[in-house]
């Protein structure tokens, strides 16, 4: 891979929470321009921690972080980087803190120094593009779970990031909203990393899937044939399965 097209380059990152075995153990990760990477791994394998390290909310105990071709050291470097990386949190209630939808979506652009009118216009445009027109004055805490997730995505996209980090974007969504999220992601001209337990979702939205285990990212391209035998009552109705 050409070094210039590398967006995220993590080298030998280690990180541990006190009193527990290391969460990340000499982890290496490279994301190039246009890459759409899926990340799968058991609970507690450090996927969210990895995201937090990329945007500098957590600092690794050792290793090198290079984003957009420049090494990052202090809070100041990360602050710049955060404006170009959109991070979608697992719980939308953490992300939506403004009273109304429009204010929440405009929050990022305003922080980037846009004027009130510009910020409003960007927010409006973003909401429209996600099919959320008419949501402007809705009260954020009264939205349904699916609506909250889509609005959170809008708040992130409104900052016009170059990369997205999506932490379990499909969890808790019904089939329709999940499909809508898939379509939105496929329509974006962005590089992103998606963390999910949902293989179908990753297959549809990403170019390749990597697996996280033992604090490392495993290279495992082997295709293992397997089948899912599936029969039960109520099969006619739309439903989810936690064991896929």
């Amino acid at each position: 891979m050409d070094k210039n097209s590398l967006i995220i380059n993590l080298e030998d990152i280690s990180f541990g929470y006190p009193g527990r075995p290391p969460t990340l153990d000499n982890l290496n990760l490279r994301l190039g321009q246009g890459d759409r990477m899926g990340l799968i791994g058991p609970n507690g394998s450090g996927k969210t921690t990895l995201f937090h390290i990329i945007v500098g909310l957590l600092r690794p105990s050792s290793g090198r972080i290079e984003i957009f071709g420049a090494p990052l050291k202090g809070e100041k470097d990360f602050r710049v980087v955060r404006q170009r990386i959109g991070f979608l949190f697992q719980d939308a209630d953490d992300q939506l803190f403004s009273p109304t939808v429009l204010e929440d979506v405009a929050f990022g652009p305003l922080n980037l120094g846009k004027s009130q009118n510009e910020a409003k216009a960007i927010a409006q445009r973003t909401l429209d593009s996600l099919g959320l027109a008419g949501f402007e004055d809705r009260i954020t805490h009264k939205l349904s779970g699916g609506e909250k997730r889509l609005v959170s995505l809008a708040t992130v996209l409104a900052m016009e990031p170059e990369v997205l980090l999506l932490d379990e974007p499909s969890t808790g969504l019904d089939e329709t909203t999940e499909k809508r999220t898939v379509d939105i992601l496929k329509g974006l001209d962005l590089s992103y990393i998606v963390v999910s337990h949902n293989v179908d979702f990753l297959m549809e939205t990403t170019d390749y899937i990597k697996c996280m285990a033992n604090g490392k990212i495993m290279v495992n391209d082997e295709r293992i044939p397997h089948s899912h035998i599936h029969i039960h009552e109520h099969g006619r109705h739309p439903h989810d399965h936690s064991r896929k």
């Binding site: 404006q83 959109g86 803190f97 990022g108 954020t140 805490h141 708040t155």
Partner: protein
């Protein structure tokens, strides 16, 4: 929980929220420092007129006044007997004084007058507008932020509370007067605190990721109309009149 009430349209509802806040603030100060019964009764009357003009359902108004007055009833049990002065009545060995009764009466009228006008304000203005108006009035940013975040997350915390309570119920918890109950409630409160603090950290992180640097911006703009100016001047005149009445002791 904290929801604006009066759904209908009224003059008070359409007033500039900044005017309302200023008026309520000055009115409360004036009432709080006044001592003459004429002044206090007039203030209470004025408050009632305003709350009626806000077209607030009487039932809602009464429901909101109950908690304050429960507290005031408590005062009536103590104040008349603990104030020194001319004896007025006696209950067994306890002697109630003239001064004590007057003092309790004053507190009752004052609190109700202030409550009534506060209710008129809160019921006729959405929480968001209130916050933005506070910001416009140069109320310290931290207070405005606290106000907004309380509004936004009180629901989330309440939901978390309900979840914990149901989790306790489904495992057969029935509160009683015993150590087990106290301990369980202590765990509940502790759990809520820990979860709220975790939540706060996650929200802060999410904000940092979107470039938060200590400033919250408001998208709403207010403009003072003639109607707002007239109301403001009228109310200021009335408050001033109350002040003059208190100070000069005429009438």
């Amino acid at each position: 929980m904290i929801e604006e009430l009066a759904g209908g349209d009224s003059l008070i509802r359409r007033l500039d929220p900044r005017v309302k806040i200023v008026v309520v603030f000055l009115f409360s100060v004036a009432v709080a420092v006044s001592n003459r019964f004429v002044v206090l009764m007039l203030a209470l009357g004025l408050g009632l007129c305003i709350v009626l003009a806000a077209r607030l359902p009487i039932k809602q108004l009464v429901r909101r006044l109950v908690p304050v007055n429960m507290f005031i009833i408590l005062l009536w049990f103590f104040l008349p007997f603990t104030f020194e002065g001319e004896p007025l009545f006696s209950v067994g060995p306890l002697v109630g004084t003239h001064e004590g009764v007057l003092y309790a009466a004053r507190i009752s009228i004052k609190s109700n007058a202030i409550m009534v006008i506060l209710i008129a304000l809160v019921a006729s203005t959405s929480i968001l507008t209130l916050g933005h108006a506070m910001h416009e009035l140069r109320v310290p940013k931290k207070i405005v932020h606290l106000f907004f975040f309380t509004y936004r997350y009180i629901h989330v915390i309440h939901r978390e509370y309900l979840r914990l309570v149901s989790a306790m119920k489904v495992r057969g918890f029935r509160p009683g007067t015993n150590v087990h109950t106290y301990k369980t409630f202590a765990y509940l409160v502790g759990m809520l605190l820990v979860r709220s603090s975790d939540r706060a950290e996650r929200v802060h992180n999410a904000m940092l990721c979107r470039g938060f640097s200590g400033n919250l911006y408001s998208l709403s703009e207010f403009s003072l109309k003639t109607r707002d100016m007239i109301s403001l001047i009228l109310m200021l005149a009335l408050i001033l009149a109350l002040g003059v009445l208190e100070w000069t002791k005429i009438a």
